[in-house]
């Protein structure tokens, strides 16, 4: 099968794989797991024709280790998994962050914890994506809500990972991963693709972790004339271990600043519905499209509801959510978990706006009635 042309019926997972290929990904290592396996399937079938490599690894620990190695060797690389595999990847996710390795990790969330309900959707890995790996760190995570958006956000995930030299997580879910929708893949030459900055000094003057003015070090690949060393212990600009506490302080600060100082560049949201509303929904991923449906249903009942849809989740869009809280009567956070991102909403709630949770934990796309019930509760 070659690249699909024209308007297609396509599964979200397939759209993710094609987005990766169009973004320039040429290395996939993974261990198939429902409901993400179709991403691996497409990569196995298609990547060799693009000069890329697909490896089915022994497990998810090996998978993320392999994509880190591939990226350090100059390839755009990614892996795809679901909750149990995402848990196994946490340690090396930290390695990727600390060694500043551009790569993309796709988590198609299913019901957990543990093996949970393998074929059914959840959005319960949101805080794991943020804090699952140990130690202070920053993370970028994006959450697609349609098949078409899965394609474009996968491209954006690679662009952000290259731009910031850091792992980027796509927090999908079983609904988006395995729903088929009509999609049109654009002409690849029309896409804006970002590549990592290569060293612009001579090999003798190159230090692999000497940052550019935006805090991101230009990146040579293993095998280039510029010598690279990457360590998972505290390291200075040479890349070699350095155990001074002030070295780690400087490194941690730079790793945070290189992302958080550019939050506005990363944050992506959609405002949906009327400008002013009695109740504002805040949601992301599959739940957010149910919210769009609910905005229309509520309007039929004469209730003015709007939606702030978070397309990027991490870094959390503090300012935008704070503003939304400040100009609405109440907020309902709709998510397929027992309440995860609602904690972030409350954290930035400077106006003490009442915040309610619409929680869908039934192993299915969140029911519109759950969200409507929360809206009615908020209006009491």
């Amino acid at each position: 099968m070659s690249r699909p042309e024209g308007i297609q019926l396509m599964e979200g997972n397939h759209a993710c794989a094609w987005g990766a290929i169009d973004a320039g990904a040429r290395f996939f290592a993974g261990y198939p797991i429902t409901p993400s396996s179709e991403i691996a399937e497409v990569c196995a079938r298609e990547l060799p024709a693009y000069g890329g490599i697909f490896i089915q690894m022994e497990d998810e620990i090996g998978s993320i280790a392999a994509i880190i190695g591939a990226s350090l060797s100059g390839k755009k690389s990614f892996t795809a998994t679901s909750g149990p595999g995402f848990s196994l990847m946490q340690e090396n996710l930290g390695v990727g962050i600390y060694q500043e390795v551009p790569c993309v990790i796709v988590d198609i969330q299913r019901v957990g914890p543990a093996t949970g309900l393998a074929t059914q959707p959840a959005q319960a890995d949101v805080m794991q994506a943020r804090w699952g790996t140990h130690g202070d760190h920053s993370i970028i995570a994006l959450s697609p809500a349609t098949v078409q958006e899965m394609y474009y956000l996968t491209i954006r995930a690679f662009n952000l990972s290259e731009r910031f030299r850091t792992p980027v997580i796509i927090l999908g879910d079983q609904v988006i991963g395995q729903t088929y929708e009509n999609i049109k893949l654009p002409d690849p030459s029309s896409l804006d693709i970002i590549e990592r900055i290569k060293p612009f000094v001579s090999p003798e003057d190159y230090f692999p972790y000497q940052p550019d003015k935006n805090g991101v070090p230009p990146m040579a690949a293993y095998g280039d004339r510029h010598i690279v060393h990457a360590s998972s212990t505290c390291h200075d600009e040479t890349g070699y271990s350095n155990f001074k506490t002030q070295t780690n302080r400087a490194l941690l600060t730079r790793l945070k600043d290189k992302i958080y100082n550019y939050t506005d560049e990363i944050v992506d949201v959609e405002h949906f519905g009327p400008d002013h509303a009695e109740v504002t929904l805040i949601s992301y991923g599959a739940s957010s499209r149910v919210c769009k449906y609910v905005v229309g249903e509520a309007e039929k009942e004469g209730i003015r509801v709007n939606l702030l849809r978070l397309i990027s989740i991490w870094p959390f869009p503090d300012r935008i959510v704070r503003e939304a809280l400040g100009k609405t009567g109440a907020v309902v956070v709709a998510e397929m978990n027992q309440g995860q991102l609602i904690g972030e909403v409350n954290r930035v709630n400077a106006t003490n706006t009442p915040v309610y949770l619409a929680s869908g934990i039934d192993g299915a796309l969140i029911d519109p009635d759950i969200i409507m019930a929360a809206i009615r509760e908020a209006l009491k």
């Binding site: 297609q8 019926l9 429902t34 796309l365």
Partner: protein, 172 residues
């Protein structure tokens, strides 16, 4: 012609329900509509409850599942029982009369699928058969688009018998 449809195809694993959902969805795309196809299945490859839901709309699709189906195909008792209490008055239920002996709803049509398949001489073409029956009763997509989608999705070796089954369903 109505352009918003919610269709549930329900039965058990192995009946080609998800492939039929795909064919119906692709036909709707050929007709110029937006489509969302979801499926629900257990961890077994064959047997057990299985369903495909197809939502078709001219507008952007927010809720990708069927909220109030316009048509339900129920090929097993379990499939029938799952939905029958929730259908609205306008919903057409097409069921297997050999599987569901005493139907309860008003807007229902029973078909003897087994007999039709035996006449066709192939028990595996049940999905093309019921797509024909569905299209005969509700003009969800154009016949030309359905035939194009069937041709795209059926391997050449079994295309003719599937087209025969589809046409047979259109006449039942």
């Amino acid at each position: 012609m109505k352009n918003n449809w919610q269709v549930v195809l329900a039965g058990e694993g192995g009946q080609g329900l998800i492939l039929a959902g795909r064919i119906l969805s692709e036909a709707a795309i050929i007709d110029g509509n937006n489509v969302s196809l979801t499926s629900s299945y257990g961890i077994a490859a064959r047997g057990g409850y299985s369903e495909a839901q197809v939502v078709i709309s001219e507008q952007e699709l927010y809720y990708p599942k069927c909220v109030s189906p316009d048509l339900i195909l129920a090929l097993t008792r379990e499939a029938y029982n799952r939905y029958i209490d929730f259908v609205n008055n306008d919903c057409l239920v097409i069921y297997d009369s050999k599987e569901i002996a005493n139907p309860m709803g008003r807007n229902e049509l029973g078909y003897d699928f087994k007999e039709a398949l035996l006449t066709l001489g192939n028990l595996k073409v049940i999905n093309s058969l019921f797509l024909g029956i569905i299209l005969k009763n509700r003009e969800i997509v154009s016949r030309e688009s359905m035939i194009s989608a069937l041709k795209k999705n059926m391997p050449p070796k079994i295309l003719d018998i599937n087209l025969e089954a589809f046409n047979y369903g259109m006449e039942m």
